[in-house]
Symmetry: C2
Subunit: 538 residues, 2 copies
Amino acid sequence: MTKNILSSLPAWRQLADHAKTLALPENHLKFLLKESGRLKKFSKKGAGLWLDFSRQRLDDKALHLLLELAEDRNIMGRFEQMMGGDHVNVTEDRAALHTACRSFSNKPVLNDGKDVMPEIRRIRNDIKSFSDDLIAGKITGPSGMPFRDVVVIGIGGSYLGAEFATTALQHQADKGIRMHFLSNVDIDNFGAIASKIVPETTLWIVISKTYTTAETTANTLQAVKYITSHGLDPKNHMVTVTSKGSPGDDPSNPVLKTFHMFDYIGGRYSVTSAVGGVPLSLYLGYDRFEAFLKGAEEMDIHAATTPAQENLPLLAALISVWNINFLEYPAQGLIPYSSPLSKLAAHVQQLSMESNGKSVTLDGEPVRVSCGSIIFGEPGTNAQHSFFQLAHQGRPFPIDFIGVLNPCYDQYNGLSQGVTNHQELWANLMAQAQALAVGKEEDPSPAKRFSGNRPSSTLVMDDLSPKNIGRLLAFYEARTVFEAFIWGINPFDQYGVELGKVMAGDIRKTMAEKNKNPDYRFDNRDEIQKFYLEMLFG
Amino acid sequence: MTKNILSSLPAWRQLADHAKTLALPENHLKFLLKESGRLKKFSKKGAGLWLDFSRQRLDDKALHLLLELAEDRNIMGRFEQMMGGDHVNVTEDRAALHTACRSFSNKPVLNDGKDVMPEIRRIRNDIKSFSDDLIAGKITGPSGMPFRDVVVIGIGGSYLGAEFATTALQHQADKGIRMHFLSNVDIDNFGAIASKIVPETTLWIVISKTYTTAETTANTLQAVKYITSHGLDPKNHMVTVTSKGSPGDDPSNPVLKTFHMFDYIGGRYSVTSAVGGVPLSLYLGYDRFEAFLKGAEEMDIHAATTPAQENLPLLAALISVWNINFLEYPAQGLIPYSSPLSKLAAHVQQLSMESNGKSVTLDGEPVRVSCGSIIFGEPGTNAQHSFFQLAHQGRPFPIDFIGVLNPCYDQYNGLSQGVTNHQELWANLMAQAQALAVGKEEDPSPAKRFSGNRPSSTLVMDDLSPKNIGRLLAFYEARTVFEAFIWGINPFDQYGVELGKVMAGDIRKTMAEKNKNPDYRFDNRDEIQKFYLEMLFG
C-alpha cells in the first residue's frame, strides 16, 4: 500500500488544490463559522470525550477528501493489524501491542502465534498484589515502617507518561505516597530528590526495558550508593520493571520485586504496562489504575471500530495532516484548561514528535511530505498570559484546547465578578477559541487589530477521573499512529536518537580515560570537543 | 529610523542572497566545522557567560552582514535609550526601565525627568527588612509561629520569572520556606495548594500591577475566603505587590505589607523588581536576591557597552534573526543540560513570544518579515529521550543548549561506565550539538541516516549561583529586546492578549446572569457559545 506515493494520490492532490480555495479571504474562519449547523456537523462524541473541530479551517469538501485519504491509506485496517499483533514496527520487526495492556476482553492477542494476554494478566495481578500489600503495610523495608517516598528511575518513555498520569490524578493520591521522578542523568536531579526523602521509607522503582539506558544505569548506581551509605540494603528498597532476563532481572542481584515488560510495547506507548502500572498503583491504588486502563481500552475500541467520520482520534489525525501538509503549520499548541493536565503537553510532545518526526517511509524512501509537528503547550489560562500574544498576532499555529466540565475541588466556589473560578476558566476557554478564529480587523490602532483565521479544536471531558485520563491518553496514542499510517511512516522506532548516543559514548570513553589518568590529554579530539573537555576538567 | 523598510536595507538584501549560498550542499555544517579556528572566531565570553555559536549555519560574511544590520538599525543606541528612560514603549507611551531595578550605580535614571533610583532603592530596602524579619521570626502570624508556606498569587509576568528563579536556586533554599505558585484561575490549582498548606503559617503574596487581573482577583478572593474560614484575618497573612494607589494598596483594606511596582517595568521583565524580589528574598534570603540582581546588572552593562561583535545577547539576537528570517526556521528549542533550569523555557517562552510575536512595526505598519519564533524546551538529557527524534530526523529547528560547569550536588560522584553523572551529562551535551550539525549520511539502512546541518548555540555558565541566574535572565531579556530593535517592533506592549479578555468578559457576564437567575437562557449567544454554556451549566 505504501508503494503508492502519498502525494500523487488523487485525494492528496485535490486537498492541495482545495487548500488554496480555503485560503481565499471569503473562506476566513469568521465566515465559515456563520454557517448554521456547523458545530453539529464538525463535532463528534465517542468513548466519553467530545471533539469540537468547528473552528478548524475546514469545510465539507476538505473533510470529505481527508476521509477519502484515510480510506486510500487503509488506516483503520492498519490500526486493526496493529491491535492484532502484526509486525507494524517494520524496522525492528516487532508488533506494537500497547493496546493489549488494557484489554479486558477474553479474546487472545497473538504475537508471533502466541497469546500475550496470559502474561499481561499475570503482570496486572503482580501489580495488584504488590501495591495492595505495600499500601496495607504488609510490604515494608526492614524498619517495618511503611514506604512513604517512591522514586521512579526512568527516562523518556519510562517517565513522561507516568508523570503525566500521576500529575493529572494527584487529587486522588490518598495512599500516603509521595512520588518523585529521577529521569535526568544530571546529578542535580538526583540531589534535589535525595534532599527530600527518608532513606528507610523510600522505595526505588527502576524502569528500563533493556536495563542498559545510560541515564538509568547511572542513576541506579547513585541510588544504590545512597541506600548502602545509609546502612540499608538495595534488595529491600528496589523494584525493577524490565524485560525478562535483562540485568535488572538477575537473581544474583536480588530486588524486592521484578515486573516484566515486553519488546512488543514501545516506551512512549508503555504507560498502561507495568511502566505506568507500578508507580500509578502505588500512588493511587490498583483499582484506580484499572479504571485508567479501562478508559484507555474504551478509546482503543472506539478507534478500532467506529466509522471514520465518527472516529475521534482518526478525525483528529486527519486534521493534523490537513494543518501540517496543506495549511503548512509547523507546530501545534496543546492547551488544557486544567492545571492537573500540566504535564500532558510534555507527554504528547514525546509521543508525537518521537513517533512521527521521521524522514523515511516504511519502504525506506525519503518522506516527500512534511511529517511530524512541533508540539508544545502550557495550561490555560496561564498560556494566555504567556505566549498567546504570538498566537493571536504573530506566527499562527493550530491549537488543541482541552476543557474539563467538572473540577476536582468544587468546594471552593466563591464568586468573583459573579462567577466561580471554574466558570471564569471556561469563559476564557470559550473566548480564546473564538478570538483566534474570528479576530477583529477594525480598530483605529493597528496594534489592536487581530487577523483571526487561527484554527483550533476543543476536546471536552467530564472530569479528571482515572477513566477519563485513560481515554485521553489513548486518544493521543491513536491520533499519533493514525497520522503515521497516513504518512506511511513507522511510528514505533526511534533511530533518530542513536547517533547522539554513539557520539556521547565515544566522548564518555575519553572522559573515563582522563578520570583514570590525570595526565591524559585530549589531543585526539577535534578543536571544539577538546575545548569543551578541557573546560569541564578545569 | 524605522521609516527605512527593513527588508529593503542593503544588508538585509545581501543576507537574503547569502542565505542561498549557505544553503548549498558544500556549505553543510559538517564542512563549515572543518575550518580551523572556527570555535575561537564564533564564540564569545562576557558577563560571566560564554556563548559558542560555532555550530550555527553562519560564515564570516553572514556575521559581517548581520553586524552591519545591527549598525543600520542602531540597536545599541536603542538599548541605551531604553536604559536611559526614553519612552521606548511607544504604544503605551512609557519607559521600559527593568534595568534600573538592578542598577547599583550612583547615576540617576530619569523617567519623565524624575530619578527613579530613590524609589527603587527604597523598595529594595523594604524587601530586605521584611524578608530579614520574616526569616528571623520577627514577623509572624498571630499564632507566633514562623511562616512556613508562601503562596504567590500572580499570573504571566507576575509568575513565570519568579518560578524560574526559585526552581533554579532551590538548592540554596535554606530558610525553611516552601514556595507555591497560584497562577491559574483553575480552581484545581487553588485546591491542590490548599491541600498542602497549614493556614496559620501561610503567607500569601498577591502580585498584580493593576490589581484588576481577573485570574488574580478570583484567586485572591478564594484565598481570603480560605483564610477567614480558618478563623484567621487576611490582614495578618497577606502582602501585596502592586502599583501605588491600586485596590491592593488601599489602607481601608489593610495587609501585612505592600510593595510597590511601577508602570515603567513590564510584567515579563519584572523578575528583578519586587515581583521577583519579595518571593525570592523570602525563599533564599535577601543577600542572594541581591547577588541575583548584581548578575543581571553585569549583563545589562555588558549588553549596553560591549561592541556588537563581542556582545553576547546582541550576537544571539542576530543569530535569531538569521535563523528566523533568512534560514526560515519557525521555532527554537531551549535545552538546558541542568534540571534546576527546567522552568527556563517556560519563562523565555513568555518573554520572547509575548514581546516579539507582533504584527505591526513601531509606525503601525504591518511587519513585512517574520518576527517572533515559537520557543519550547525541556532539560537535556530528558529532551533527547523525548522530542529529539524529530530534531535529528524530522523538521529541523535551531537549539540553544545551556551547559553548567559545576553541579550543585557534586557530593554524589560515583562512576558509571567510568564517568560521573555530571560528566555523562556533558558527554551528551557535546554529542547532541555535534550530531545535529554533522549528521551521518551513510548507513545501509535509510532509517539510520541523519541529514545533519541542524544548527545550535551553546551557552555555558560556571554554576547555578544567584549571580549566574541573574546573568542568564538578563541575557535573554537583552536578546529579546535586541531582536525587537532589529525588527522595528515594540517588545513592551501586548495588545494581542486583549481581544480574548474582552470576549471572556462578555461570556462571564452571561454566566453571572445565569448564576443569579437559574431560568436565564442563553438565547442571545451564537450556536457554539450556547452549546458550551449549556454543557457547562448542565
